[in-house]
């Protein structure tokens, strides 16, 4: 049975009518607007694709996608140090793992499972745009960097000494935005909360960072995360306006201090905020009511004793 579509049937009628009145020749010679629109959209996607492929060189790609968990010669972060990685496993295995990490783990590959344990259960995420060709290019880059004495991907060196109070205070200022970020990025407070901040707290877009120092397993990981934040929200923001190493040091000092102070991540601030907002709204309405207490309400009803 033929499916009934009012739209299609109306169009069919239109086309028949068009033929009958001889409009076909006039209208069909022009490309239809909808087709044109689609063509434009597809075209713009195409241009974008070519542009990203060309612009995103392998080094930049590594910096943006890999460096939050890996170094080349800088020691282990969440993921292993990639120095001389091609000597530990063959090219084929590496490419397969990198393009689909979970696949190998699920398949029960012994080496992959061992890596998972080494990362305390963290599984490498599937990176968008990381195909086999890209993986090969990355491996080649890593090999090149491995032979250098100090790779550009060695990561940030963070001191092991305890931080002093001035570092922590500076970190707090950076977090809250009292000290603007040098490259003009948005300060942490815009999206993140820390128990230390006070009554109104920080933003609620990102996670609570009170215990992030522990979650990230210490200074080194935290610092390299901050070097190139890898989440979908933070990457576009900090890609163009990265944190400086000084700022990272301060923030690490501060977040370490906050975590050690032992604050708990909880929902109290948002409840407080709600209650404060409610109280503010009520007070505001009362203020408006008192300012316009003489406003016109009604004349007849109060006169005859009806409630207004």
């Amino acid at each position: 049975m033929k499916e009934f579509s009012p739209l299609r049937s109306r169009r069919a009628v239109f086309f028949t009518w068009r033929k009958q009145v001889g409009l076909e020749a006039i209208t069909s010679s022009r490309p239809r607007p909808r087709v044109m629109g689609w063509a434009m959209i597809l075209l713009s996607f195409g241009v974008l694709h070519v542009e990203t492929a060309m612009g995103q060189e392998t080094e930049a790609y590594f910096r943006q996608n890999c460096m939050s968990c890996h170094t080349v010669g800088g020691g282990r972060l969440v993921g292993p140090d990639l120095k001389n990685v091609s000597k530990r496993k063959d090219q084929e295995w590496l490419i397969e793992f990198v393009t689909n990490p979970k696949g190998l783990i699920d398949a029960g590959d012994a080496y992959a499972l061992a890596m998972k344990d080494a990362a305390r259960g963290v599984i490498m995420p599937k990176i968008p745009g990381l195909d086999k060709a890209k993986a090969a290019a990355l491996l080649e880059l890593i090999s090149r960097e491995s032979v250098l004495e100090k790779s550009q991907f060695a990561g940030l060196h963070i001191t092991d000494e305890p931080f002093d109070a001035s570092d922590i205070a500076r970190g707090r200022d950076i977090f809250t935005g009292s000290l603007p970020l040098e490259n003009g990025g948005a300060s942490c407070l815009s999206c993140h909360h820390v128990t230390d901040i006070g009554l109104f707290g920080g933003g609620k877009l990102g996670p609570d960072l009170t215990r992030v120092y522990e979650r990230m397993l210490g200074r080194k990981n935290l610092a390299s995360w901050l070097l190139s934040p890898a989440t979908a929200t933070m990457r576009p923001v900090f890609q163009a306006k990265p944190l400086t190493s000084d700022e990272i040091e301060g923030l690490v000092a501060y977040l370490e201090d906050v975590a050690k102070a032992g604050g708990a991540e909880d929902a109290t601030p948002s409840l407080m905020l709600f209650l404060l907002g409610l109280a503010g709204a009520v007070l505001g309405l009362m203020l408006v009511d008192s300012i316009w207490s003489y406003r016109f309400r009604a004349v007849r009803r109060p006169l005859v004793g009806e409630i207004v």
Binding site: F296, A298, V299, R300, R301, L303, V304
Partner: protein, 497 residues
């Protein structure tokens, strides 16, 4: 430098009003029986003391109509200003709600004919003309007619302000109650607050006759006019989203007929005629002290017999025939020559051009020891014993000032006694002459007032000037404008948007 203009002006003689509402009904049937206008009464008749329509319209602390003097002594609108019009752009405060007017209703008459047979008589329940639902009637446009609910309504009349508590008590005491009627239409003011307040410039005062009108095409429903008019005589049509008001039946005037309410008046209380006035003095007069307002307002009215004024009027484009009409104007005589007609609430400073002859309210009988005594011997005793206290009339027609009321009433009283001396003979002519003299009224004037107030014909009461639309239109547009392009098509009524 004077700026002579002509104004169609009116006098209502309150002693003659019997409160029949014929004027209101005539107006309603001619102009406000359309959808959205059901609640409007361009002409209404109020019982005084009473709260009127809309409820307590005279309470400008509530409605904030009219003008007030600012710190420089200049008149400014009470309801709004340039800054406030922006601040209140989405909500115009101080407007009477439909409840302060009344929810208009009709009755379910069909039910009287079509109800199925039952044990009871069918009834016609009231139906709201706004919602179409059954409703409980809570108020009407003359809800306090003839002192109905006077404990509530008459007792809350804003004009009682000038009275002592004793006088107030008297007005409410049984068998001492007194009331008179107060018919109201738009005053077609010289300094109209509605015109001044309109952000769209939709309201205007016609150059040739001073009639204040709302341009239905320009009105943008700001409703500033509604709060600005202290007499609450501009109404908002909720259906078309435009303001409407009394147009003084200009289509009738232009064809030489009296306005519908004037024409239909049973008591023949209404007078209409042209006044010449000096428009250059409007601002100065509107800024006068309350006590000077009446005299200043009257002094703006120019003598149409003065050759200089006549020449000046012609220079201002007033047609000779209009000047002639102004010379015959009954309004000129009553307001300017005889000073027996007074403007309502001139303290609102809109300089109203509708004047009222205040009512006499002599004590007709006394009740003593249960017997009622006619007191015809002392019918026109001292005005201070009038049943309507002078202080009350002073609030209404004298901006709190009793002197002009006293003058007018003294004259009216003297004329009655003078006529009584001539026709009944129980007052000596000498006594009557003495009273006339004291009221600053000559015998000729007394005769003229007597004739105009009692024996007046249609043409005595309504001296309608030739409107000369063909000339008036040239002030605004080229009369050839629509040549070769008019005469066929559709007229469109006002619509929202």
């Amino acid at each position: 430098m004077i700026d002579v203009r002509s104004q169609i002006s009116m006098v209502f003689h309150l002693d003659k009003c019997i409160g029949c509402h014929t004027c209101s009904v005539a107006c309603k049937n001619v102009w406000t029986d359309r959808k959205g206008t059901e609640y409007m009464w361009w002409n209404n008749v109020e019982t005084k003391p009473g709260t009127g329509f809309p409820t307590k319209w005279e309470d400008q602390d509530k409605y904030r109509g009219g003008w007030e003097l600012n710190s420089n002594g200049d008149p400014v609108l009470k309801s709004t200003s340039r800054a406030r019009i922006i601040a209140n752009i989405f909500h115009n405060p101080h407007m009477p709600s439909m409840d302060d007017y009344y929810e208009p209703w009709t009755y379910e008459y069909d039910n009287l004919f079509n109800a199925p047979e039952g044990a009871d008589q069918p009834t016609a329940r009231p139906i709201s003309m706004v919602t179409g639902e059954y409703m409980d009637i809570k108020a009407g446009p003359n809800w306090d007619d003839d002192l109905g609910g006077s404990k509530l309504y008459a007792a809350n009349d804003p004009n009682l302000e000038g009275l002592t508590p004793e006088q107030r008590m008297q007005l409410q005491a049984i068998e001492r109650l007194v009331f008179f009627y107060f018919p109201r239409i738009c005053n077609h003011c010289l300094n109209p607050a509605c015109v001044a307040s309109c952000p769209s410039g939709a309201l205007y005062k016609r150059g040739e006759d001073g009639i204040v009108l709302v341009d239905q095409k320009r009105c943008r429903a700001w409703r500033s006019c509604i709060s600005a008019c202290p007499y609450k005589k501009v109404y908002f049509n909720w259906f078309t989203g435009k303001s409407e008001k009394c147009i003084l039946c200009f289509p009738r005037l232009e064809t030489g007929q009296a306005p519908a309410c004037f024409h239909s008046c049973v008591g023949r209380i209404r007078y209409l005629g042209v006044l010449l006035y000096d428009a250059s003095r409007i601002e100065e007069v509107a800024a006068r002290k309350d006590s000077e307002l009446i005299e200043a307002h009257r002094s703006m009215i120019l003598d149409p017999f003065d050759p200089e004024i006549m020449a000046e009027a012609q220079r201002s484009g007033i047609h000779e025939s209009v000047i002639e009409s102004a010379q015959k104007s009954p309004v000129y005589k009553m307001v300017k020559e005889w000073k027996i007609a007074l403007p309502p609430h001139i303290e609102y400073r809109t300089l109203p051009m509708l004047f009222y002859v205040p009512p006499l309210s002599p004590v007709m009988s006394r009740k003593e020891d249960g017997t009622i005594d006619q007191v015809s011997t002392d019918l026109f005793h001292s005005l201070d014993d009038s049943r309507v206290p002078l202080a009350y009339l002073a609030q209404l027609f004298g901006a709190g000032n009793q002197a002009p009321i006293r003058f007018a009433l003294e004259k009216l009283k003297a004329i009655r006694l003078y006529r009584r001396a001539l026709t009944v003979g129980d007052v000596t002519e000498e006594a009557a002459a003495k009273l006339l003299q004291r009221a600053e009224c000559s015998k000729e004037e007394a005769d003229a007032i007597y004739r105009l107030t009692t024996l007046c014909t249609f043409d005595d009461r309504f001296v309608i000037p030739p409107m000369h639309r063909e000339e008036a239109i040239e002030m605004l547009q080229d009369p050839q404008e629509r040549k070769q392009s008019a005469g066929f098509g559709f007229l469109s009524g006002p619509r929202r948007g």
